[in-house]
Amino acid sequence: MTTAELLGKDPGWIIAIKALIVFAICVVSTLMAVWTERRVLAKMQLRTGPNRVGKFGLLQSLSDGVKLALKEDIIPAAADKVVFVIAPIIATAMCFMSFAVIPMTGVVNLFGQKTALQLTDLPVGVLYVLAVTSIGVYGVVLAGWSSGSTYPLLGGLRSSAQVISYEVAMGLSLVAVFMYAGSMSTSEIVSSQHQHIWNVVVLFPSFVIYVISMVGETNRAPFDLAEAEGELVGGFHTEYSSLKFALFFLAEYVNIIAVSALATTLFLGGYHAPPGLGFTEQWLGGWFTFIWFLLKVNLFFFLFMWLRGTLPRLRYDQFMKFGWKVLIPVSLVWILIVATLRVLQQEGANRFAVAAFAGGLVLLVMAISSLSDRSKEKSRAPLPEGEAPDFPIPSLPNVKSVKVSGGE
């Protein structure tokens, strides 16, 4: 029985409970994510991080949230009030919606009902996630526009340009997954990985592109140039305060968790245990699969923090150049390669043909890269041979400054 059939038998009350659980998972994991991020980042910087509210400071983000909600809610005079209020609601609601199709457990027993912790299973589940996150961009654009202020407008435009650009690369990186799984349904992609091998192994380039574009998509460091706290005040949410700001904050973190969950589902075998540990999936009546899922999601979340702790922020033009001129062409070429290999496989081509195709490809890449290196070397102009300057020159970097004793 497929997951879709299993979920189709859910009575209404089970669906309601599952929706509640999914919502709770999102909110609680946001609270934990904020805490984890602050602690891990602190560790990377030889600090301790929040440790005063609750054990290990675990309740810090909860108390921050309460404090934020109790603050004065300011709507600027120049703001378009209706849109100003709607924008954070759109941004938050869309993040939560993308969680509906993420399969979080295998078959489990929920209040005596045999089901899986997945709200719904659409035949085009992954497309639905992409669509919903795209609508989430409206939240950003409208927030920036309706604030009636310069910084939010510029930040909103930048954020949305960034998200849309990287969504293209993200979508393209998923095409290879669809081709291998033969489906766009999240649960079927998971089960196809379970039958064969995790997509991260066979489709590693896709995985790399997805991981890079998911960081760009969520406006996180090192791609957080639209919000750049130190430079641009905060981007599209500059004018927001109190609960509306909290909603944007929530949306940002739910978004991170959502793209991490999608990465888990598409590339790391979803809720299934790593190969060799399959017996653990039966533990706790199947609920142990949820722990595997959380572990994998946290792996990605740790990556987010690691990137933030390590890399400096990109410049806007570098960022756009990287997205459009590197990620998208590379994904397109990779899709062509995957498609060709897939057709060769399905047509029953012998191994020699496949190997010849792969070898030819490697040779082609090497030839192109060496050609580009040569042209780069040619274009590097030699330093002009000028006369030595007749003024004292400052010491150059990497040259030990020589003390010149000028006599008496």
Partner: protein, 213 residues
């Protein structure tokens, strides 16, 4: 990347007649972006840092000791019999670059002997809103009456509270000390006091019958 390019041999540093323009002018190779592995090194730096001991001091709970000669709150010291060392000379106030110290001297009388000798500090104030903890006042003090403690928790919520009076600054009474005013040690002059000949109070100094054990 840390090593330097050595200056060329033909440049002789000992030659003092040298013209600066004879310094060889050489193109310096700037380090490029490096290989992919080289660039990934940063990830290892942040990752390994996670397992290092962190540098945070849990301040209100754990108070790290200061350096032994840390310039903290001032203290007005006493002679071993309890008489104050301050003679109200105002040298500290004159030395203060921030004008944080205010002193009014007073005469010692047989009924009101606060310090050995003729004079004592009647009013002594240090304004910690102005004090820069430079320690020039301590250097100026001729009787070693004014020194500094290691106490650094001086924040408060009222400006008035940060003007410390003599009572706030005086050193506590230790073993063998009597609270002034009381007569000087019998047979001792102020010079004896300064020379450290007085080791503790004499029973005859205790006119008020304070704290006898």
């Amino acid at each position: 990347m840390t090593d330097f390019i050595e200056p060329q041999k033909k440049f002789n540093v000992e030659n003092s007649e040298l013209d600066i323009n004879s310094v060889p002018f050489e193109e310096v190779k700037q380090p490029g972006p490096g290989s992919l592995l080289e660039q990934a090194k940063g990830f290892w730096v942040t990752f390994s840092t996670m397992f290092k001991k962190n540098q945070t001091v849990q301040y209100p709970d754990v108070k790290a000791p200061t350096a032994p000669r840390f310039h903290g709150r001032h203290q007005l010291n006493r002679h071993p019999d309890g008489l104050e060392k301050c003679i109200g000379c105002e040298l500290c106030a004159w030395a203060c670059p921030a004008d944080a110290i205010y002193v009014e001297g007073g005469n010692n009388t047989p009924e009101n002997q606060v310090s050995p000798g003729e004079r004592h500090g009647a009013v002594y104030q240090i304004n910690y809103l102005r004090c820069i903890f430079c320690g020039l006042c301590v250097e100026a003090c001729p009787t070693r009456a004014l020194t500094m403690t290691n106490e650094y928790e001086l924040a408060d919520d009222k400006r008035e509270k940060l003007i410390f009076e003599k009572d706030d600054l005086l050193a506590p009474l230790r073993q063998g000390m009597l609270a002034p005013p009381h007569p000087m040690y019998p047979g001792m002059t102020d010079t004896n006091y300064y020379n450290g000949d007085v080791k503790e109070s004499h029973p005859s100094q205790n006119l008020n019958g304070q704290g006898q054990k």
